[in-house]
Amino acid sequence: MRLRKPSAGAGLLEVYMVKRVWRTLAILVTVVTLFGATILAIGVGQVSIPPDTTAAILLSKVPPLNLIFNHNWPTSYEVIVMEIRLPRVLLGILVGAALASSGAVMQGTFKNPLADPYVLGLAAGAVFGASMSMVLGLSLGVGFARYSTPFLAFIFTLLTAFLVYSIARVGKKVPTSTLLLAGIAVGTFFWAINSFIQYLAGERLQAVIFWIMGGLWPASWEDVALSAPPIILGIALIMLFSKHLNAMLMGEEVASSLGINVDFALKALIVLSALIVASAVAVSGTIGFVGLVIPHMLRLIVGPDHRVLLPTSCLFGATFLVLADLVARLVVAPAELPVGIITASIGAPFFIYLLRTKKKAIGLGGRLVS
């Protein structure tokens, strides 16, 4: 982070400590922002609940604190908070965190500022899986029918990742340029099939289109329970590769001579990223622009070091999606918009702004030094 130039004669230690304080502060700010967004999003809606009541209801569910809070709120509030809005906000947090952190990882892995969570053709694969269930009626069978769409979306996202990876593999290596091309090719192929399925879809077309736009409205505690373990575990494991990602941005030879097993790190990051994206897509559809824009935004503020970029992107991605979902619920209330429309309509202009003004900070002003 270069928020201020060190004064002449300032020691390196001082420069470093200032930087570290700023980094810690950045993480703290994103935590607090997320907490605030959570309270706000739970409180606001057709029935609005004051923030302090929202906070009290939430805290009263935490074991050591539940003795302090008197239940002096209407039961209906508690039902709205616990059964409707909290699972939805939690799902927003999970999906936002998953998309933003995998976006940051993909941009780092491919050394390409245009990479996003769906760069390997994953969105096309996810839509293919979802369409199979929604249009062709493929189902998990009696009792599990409700899970058919998320399950097939999840499976086909992972299958697409696997397919792209196998096509791109050359011996033991997986060159990133081949990966990108394979991702585009496989994605294009799946989109063709998707279009064909949509052509046949008839009255079910609307459901598919809505799914493609992405949304959090089917949110239930089950969705949260299903998507939380892979997303949380995946993000935690990705963060262990922060220093690897940093070094890999300096070139594979540099990373390799710093003792990093570049092949392994690359494979692990791609697999983990595909896993968290598949989990997010399964419960929310293909929400765009969060994964592309949020990491760039944070790179501008905290710099390119993944040890701070990953946690802040993840937290701020969560905040962004929770707030975008809130807007999606409010603008055409009592109906609601697919949240993908909101994220894209905020994300795209912001990205254009970045392109016009901050090319360098997002990694577009670089050069090959040899």
Partner: protein, 257 residues
């Protein structure tokens, strides 16, 4: 003996890139590897750095076979300044030099005050300390090369490998970098190996030369032993004039044969 390489061979698929190479270097010595394109110079460096794993041969650093060590353990002993480094993301000079501490860091990757001291020392000896807060993509080619050398020094290696350290630099920076390498080799008691296409720079700054041809050592020894008309003719296929004056050797290429 800092570095002892014995009977090293390496093949890409079926093509033999390194064929039975042996060599020794003491601390404080700079060894130059020269040879035509495709002779296996960079491949040899990558084998010494254990980036490539040769099937045959040993690479002993202070008596220890590094081909049997984990990659991060190798990185604590051998540092490499590669030919190409990509910098499209705006890391600061300090960020990059601290990356040299990666093999020494724990799982969470946090630097201690000691790591910072080592980075500071590395930056001071390579004259980039004043650039600490600058973004690496704003640096000149010479500055950037020195930053990468500082990063390599922060690894606290006993072997320093450089792949064409003067590539794309003007003559003043070429001399500056080569003098820096000589000084660091003496001060830090390194054994240094550099690959170069610039025969005159190699002749001026290296203690010993190895002339590589098709993966084999064609000639090895002092600068005077290796750089002669016959060797240059045989290996490079170039008619050259070799001038010796004041203990230095100059090669002037005349025409291809």
């Amino acid at each position: 003996m800092r570095l002892r390489i014995k009977d090293l061979s390496f093949s890409y698929d079926s093509i033999k890139a390194i064929d039975n190479v042996s060599m020794e270097i003491n601390e404080g010595e700079v060894l130059g590897i020269i040879g035509p394109n495709g002779a296996g110079k960079s491949t040899l460096l990558k084998c010494i750095n254990s980036i490539l794993k040769p099937r045959v041969g040993t690479v002993l650093v202070d008596g220890e076979d590094i081909l049997k060590l984990r990659k991060d353990e190798v990185a604590k002993r051998v540092a490499m300044v590669p030919q190409n480094s990509l910098t499209s993301f705006p890391f600061t000079v300090l960020d990059v030099v601290l990356m040299g501490r990666i093999p020494h860091l724990g799982k969470l990757g946090r630097e201690s005050e000691r790591d910072l001291k080592i980075a500071e020392e590395a930056m001071r000896t390579t004259f980039v300390l004043s650039l600490a807060d600058r973004s690496v993509d704003e640096l000149s080619g010479g500055e950037f090369r020195r930053v990468i050398i500082a990063m390599a020094l922060a690894q606290e290696p006993s072997i320093l490998l450089l792949d064409e350290p003067t590539l794309h630099l003007d003559i003043s920076h070429q001399l500056g970098i080569m003098e820096l390498i000589r000084r660091l080799t003496a001060e830090k008691k390194l054994a240094t190996i550099l690959v170069s296409h610039d025969l005159n720079l190699a002749a001026k700054f290296c203690d010993k030369l190895i002339l590589l041809n098709s993966g084999k050592i064609y000639s090895a020894g002092s600068v005077e032993e290796v750089l002669n008309r016959e060797n240059i003719k045989q290996v490079y296929g170039v008619e050259a004039q070799v001038i010796r004056s004041n203990g230095l050797v100059y090669v002037i290429p005349i025409k291809p044969i």
